[in-house]
């Protein structure tokens, strides 16, 4: 319990949310708590998240992704009014020496992009689920959300992926 409280307060200081209770247990798994996974979001195997609220879905990359990519120095985003399709790239992030595609978990029309990222690309590192959001989309096929992973499934996916390498 003490370990969990320390982890939680430290995570709050770092502005990340700890994963579900089941996730924080022995000390050796503490580092995984800082690769956070939020409840209420859906996740793609390519490490993007979606938050569906009403008629709009917000999309970004996960804490796991930003941690593995390193410091983000540039973000390429589409124009509002364009379309995205499930599983295909809509933009890219540049971390030191590398560009990495960002793929849309769902299909739809881009209604807003996060213009703050052009001046402050590091928001993706410091706040991947909040200030570092990338695009907002009007989903054309909301049933696509059902095939995405929930938080527990995504956490397990990340653990298995890291363990396999």
């Amino acid at each position: 319990m003490a370990l969990r409280m320390w982890a939680s307060s430290t995570a709050n200081a770092l502005r990340v949310s700890c994963a579900s209770k089941a996730h924080v247990s022995p000390a050796f798994s503490l580092s995984r708590c800082f690769s956070s996974v939020l409840d209420g979001l859906k996740y793609a195997t390519s490490h993007e998240w979606v938050k569906h609220e009403g008629s709009v879905a917000t999309i970004g990359i996960t804490d796991h992704a930003q941690d593995h990519l390193g410091e983000v120095v540039f973000v390429e985003l589409p124009e509002p009014g364009g379309s995205v399709s499930k599983g295909n790239g809509f933009g890219a992030v540049e971390s030191v020496k590398a560009t990495s595609d960002v793929n849309s978990p769902i299909s739809g029309e881009v209604v807003e992009v996060n213009s703050k990222l052009s001046e402050a690309p590091g928001l993706i590192n410091s706040s991947p689920y909040e200030d570092g959001w990338m695009i907002k989309v009007k989903p054309s096929n909301p049933s696509e959300l059902e095939s995405l992973m929930g938080p527990k499934e995504y956490t397990k996916f990340c653990e298995e992926e890291d363990a396999a390498h």
Partner: protein, 268 residues
């Protein structure tokens, strides 16, 4: 079966393209196309490019990175490539080595920038063993603390590319087109270009480097040389490249903006 054939059993296939003097724009166009449209593993070695060319990374801004008056005056081509990373001046003294791989091609390798960079350093450690104090230092290949190889990557959902420009030799006057970048590795310690870099030719013969690189690749892949004409591939393709040659107008506009902003800051 021969011994070398036995060793290659079970290794993934990698097609090897060997060029000499192919223009860097064509090389980058082919790389991007293979990354996005092929499902095979590739190694491209281009031994020198034809004309001196400046190549910036995907987010490169000419006004920040280049001495534009000289670049425009000397009509040096400037390319913005599809991978991340910094700015290089390449010419016939530059040797390019590129790896384009499926994400599962190297067992146990996570398709992220640092793991790929580390893997590449293991491969090149084999190449340079016995020839110099080689290491990977903050994403550069160095002998000691002098850079001789610059790296950049692009990572898609299922594939990645890691390419390197090796300074076999260079002209000091070409390095003068580049400004000291705002974002530089710590080990550079504000040294200007000529104090920061070194020439590979002072360490090993050119042909030895290429041969040893191919041998090192063979420890991870079953290598199959193929003939591929860069021009023919580009002409047949409807692929839309993001690598672009900047126009003179774009460079002039950047130079004008740079002078304007300097003028504004002086008058304040």
């Amino acid at each position: 079966m021969t011994i070398s054939q036995t060793r290659n059993v079970g290794l993934p296939l990698m097609k090897l393209v060997r060029w000499k003097g192919v223009p860097i724009l064509q090389q980058l166009h082919l790389e991007e196309q293979l990354l996005r449209t092929s499902s095979e593993n590739w190694c491209i070695i281009n031994d020198g490019t034809n004309d001196p060319t400046i190549v910036m990374g995907i987010s490169g801004k000419p006004a920040q990175l280049l001495k534009l008056d000289s670049v425009l005056n000397d009509r040096i081509p400037v390319i913005r490539r599809y991978t991340g990373g910094g700015t290089v001046v390449v010419d016939c003294g530059t040797v390019f080595v590129t790896f384009i791989c499926n994400k599962d091609a190297v067992p146990g390798l996570q398709p992220y920038p640092q793991p790929i960079m580390s893997w590449s350093s293991l491969l090149y450690a084999l190449v340079f063993r016995g020839f110099g104090d080689f290491s990977l230092r903050e994403n550069d290949y160095v002998f000691g603390n002098h850079k001789f190889g610059g790296n950049a990557q692009s990572i898609t959902k299922n594939r990645w590319i890691h390419h390197t420009s090796f300074l076999w030799d260079y002209e000091a006057r070409n390095m003068a087109y580049l400004k000291l970048p705002a974002r530089a590795p710590e080990y550079r310690v504000a040294r200007d270009h000529l104090e920061f870099i070194c020439r590979m030719k002072d360490y090993m013969p050119r042909s030895v480097f290429v041969d040893r690189t191919i041998k090192a690749v063979e420890t991870y892949f079953s290598v199959r040389p193929v003939q591929l004409e860069a021009m023919e591939t580009n002409l047949n393709s409807k692929f839309s490249h993001s690598t672009k040659l900047l126009t003179e107008q774009e460079l002039e506009a950047a130079a004008f903006e740079s002078h304007f902003e300097k003028g504004l800051s002086h008058s304040l």
